[in-house]
């Protein structure tokens, strides 16, 4: 990593810390209460994971273009096509599951909502792994 890239990396890290501090400075402690709030939290996490997956795929396409143009790039794919297709499938399944979970929760069917939420969270974990995150 050259100094300029290092600077940018730490700038990004600093922005993240700053944003977190802004949350902390409110002095509020807020936890999701109830099934609907748990599901909303999961849906937010899923949206983040899907966007990260799309970013990863975009970066891989850019890497392939650079390789075709003869530019120096790593020969290792950022994400294999199979992993991307699997994660894409998980994304669609998780999205549908969490919406069903929410429908169940708003109909006061907590048991069904919990089952669907758990399944959706497992899928989010799978997508996070493809994205390079850790469970």
């Amino acid at each position: 990593m050259n100094p300029r890239q290092s600077f940018r990396f730490y700038l990004i890290a600093l922005m993240l810390v700053g944003a977190l501090s802004a949350c902390m400075n409110t002095g509020q402690v807020v936890k999701p209460v109830g099934m609907v709030q748990d599901i909303i939290t999961a849906q937010t996490s899923l949206t983040v994971a899907i966007n990260a997956l799309a970013d990863m795929h975009d970066a891989e396409l850019a890497r392939q273009e650079m390789a075709k143009a003869g530019k120096p790039v790593s020969p290792t794919p950022l994400i294999t096509d199979k992993a991307y297709q699997d994660a894409k499938s998980y994304s669609k399944q998780a999205s549908a599951m969490l919406i069903s979970a929410r429908t169940a929760a708003t109909a006061n069917d907590a048991s069904n909502a919990q089952t669907l939420l758990t399944a959706g969270l497992n899928l989010i974990g799978q997508i996070a792994l493809v994205n390079g995150g850790k469970k």
Partner: protein, 88 residues
Amino acid sequence: MPLALIPVIAQLASQLIGLYAQAHSTSKSAAQIASLGPTIVNVTAALSQLAMTFKTAQDEKWTENDARWLPIFDQIDHAQQLALDRLT
């Protein structure tokens, strides 16, 4: 700090930092790498807004099928559909 949201933020940070590291390893331009910064800020701002919504819901004792959730559901579904549409 919205404590229960910490795992979500941690997962996000893990994903983005992992993505950064991989992007860096492919010699992507510094500008492309730096473009992840606004994404981090946007998402943390959204999480902060979400925590405030939960606080309001808890203070005002919204029920599970309260009609006040509906516009929030719409926002979440819209954002999720936009993300899904990115998966070509």
